[in-house]
């Protein structure tokens, strides 16, 4: 059967990596691969938080093949389950070292390969959160964001994230989010983080559009077309004045849409602020942004992670 993946691969072979199916295992398959019972797998999840299953739409556990395979290999000559888990985790972390090395050496092809290998072991979201973003942070720390390595690496990362977003299936559920991009330019230290937010939101199946906060002219037309249920301001480079003008334009045209900030300080919220601060974890921020669409207070683990404050 011809899949969408193979059609994409035929027309756009360089993008095939985004359709690399992350191989997952049912609980029984993972247990069989490790030669343990399903109960033991769940006991390891509780005690070691590894292997960490994802959940299907039906809430069933599915395990990433790469994580299970890494653990199987480590168990062969481990001295305890803890040490095997540690070695399995370390083998997965090596993707980050390879990616940073490739980018610092100006080898984008090798960086593509590193991310492709990471994708075989993880979902797109986890690849971005566990490999790509930490690698960019490490590159910025090592070389500085004013370096040639950052310029090449940041461009490579944002290109990768944009390509991944283009390969995202069309919106399949109601709801839309508008992102006001408050980063400076494509070499902004936070550009990869904001592109990752766009990607994650888009992959939830809702519509997402991103526009620089400085380009608020004609935003009313955009709001009519997109009909967003929430607006996120992402990035810290644009001035407060520019953000305020954007927010005013949005609210003037779209009414009192819920507004939230992502990766935009200060850490301490002003007591007069009506804006909500989303967590820096892209997946958590995405979950909370979706909660905004539902009109529900965004929570994680039962704790309110941001509070709405009134002007009164």
């Amino acid at each position: 059967m011809c899949t969408k993946a193979c059609m994409v691969a035929q027309t756009c072979p360089e993008l095939v990596l985004f359709w690399t199916e992350m191989r997952t295992l049912k609980t029984s398959e993972a247990a069989a691969m490790l030669n343990v019972s399903a109960n033991t797998l769940r006991a390891w999840e509780r005690r070691f938080d590894y292997p960490k299953p994802q959940r299907t739409a039906g809430k069933h556990r599915v395990y990433v093949h790469g994580e299970v395979a890494a653990l199987r290999d480590a168990l062969r000559d481990g001295l305890s389950i803890s040490s095997a888990v540690s070695r399995a985790r370390e083998s997965l972390r090596s993707d980050t070292h390879i990616l940073v090395g490739a980018l610092a050496s100006f080898e984008p092809e090798r960086a593509d390969g590193a991310l492709e290998a990471a994708l075989a072991m993880r979902s797109v979201e986890r690849t971005v959160e566990e490999v790509l973003l930490p690698s960019m942070a490490e590159l910025a720390r090592r070389a500085g964001t004013d370096s040639a390595a950052w310029a090449i690496g940041s461009r490579w990362a944002t290109d990768w994230l944009r390509r991944a977003q283009r390969m995202t299936p069309p919106p399949a559920r109601p709801g839309a989010i508008l992102i006001g991009d408050a980063t400076g330019d494509e070499l902004d230290a936070e550009a990869p983080l904001v592109r990752a937010l766009e990607l994650f939101v888009g992959r939830t199946g809702i519509r997402v559009a991103s526009v620089p906060v400085a380009r608020h002219s004609g935003v009313a037309d955009l709001l009519r077309a997109l009909q967003p249920g929430a607006v996120l301001i992402a990035g810290r480079s644009a001035s407060d004045e520019a953000v305020a003008r954007f927010a005013y334009a949005v609210r003037a045209a779209g009414g009192s849409l819920p507004l939230a900030l992502f990766s935009r300080g200060p850490e301490e919220e002003s007591p007069t602020s009506t804006l909500l601060h989303l967590p820096l974890s892209v997946s958590e921020a995405t979950a909370q942004a979706l909660a905004l669409l539902d009109g529900a207070p965004a929570r994680a683990g039962g704790t309110v992670l941001f509070t709405e404050r009134s002007n009164s």
């Binding site: 490790l34 390891w44 005690r47 000559d77 001295l79 305890s80 803890s82 095997a84 888990v85 540690s86």
Partner: protein, 166 residues
């Protein structure tokens, strides 16, 4: 004049021959069914599911409820039994890769300092087929000491420290 018992130095415990090897779980110390590790399949303990099956000389191997540590050749902690976790107030996952001498130090007046304990452990982890004894205490506690049996374990080479809780 009262008669005082004369203090006298006793010799270091002699190394005992290792004897036959037995299999036990690195977490609960229970032996597998039949007492032998399965030739094919998992080394994971079928009883508790939280430890790997290791082998050690019978004179050294822990009994269920014994406190013991598994150390690699670099003297980094690789495993902590359930009882040892309670005894040292430390989870296995937190003890992992710590130097064993950060957790246990010699408490034997006759021992030649911490190097003696390290030497015993290195020797055991290198596969010396004998079981030795030492007196140790938790690194952050005084007034508590344990007799410890030290020897090799496997199949991956390591040293096993079994604490005698009396």
């Amino acid at each position: 004049m009262s008669a005082h018992r004369a203090l006298h130095v006793i010799g270091s415990p002699a190394a005992a021959p290792a004897g036959p090897h037995v299999v036990f779980c690195s977490h609960c110390a229970k032996p597998p069914a039949g007492g032998v590790a399965p030739e094919v399949g998992s080394r994971v303990c079928a009883s508790c599911g939280l430890g790997l099956l290791l082998e050690a000389p019978e004179a050294l191997a822990p009994k269920p409820r014994d406190a013991f540590l598994v150390v690699d050749r670099s003297l980094a902690v690789q495993g902590l039994s359930k009882r040892a976790e309670k005894l040292l107030g430390l989870r296995e996952i937190d003890a992992l890769d710590q130097r064993v001498t950060d957790l246990l130090v010699p408490a034997d007046a006759e021992a030649a300092g911490p190097h003696h304990l390290s030497a015993l452990l290195v020797e055991a982890a290198s596969g010396a087929d004998e079981v030795t004894e030492a007196v140790v205490r938790p690194a952050d506690e005084f007034g508590v000491r344990f007799a410890a049996r030290i020897g090799p374990c496997g199949p991956t080479p390591g040293a096993l420290v079994v604490l005698d809780l009396g």
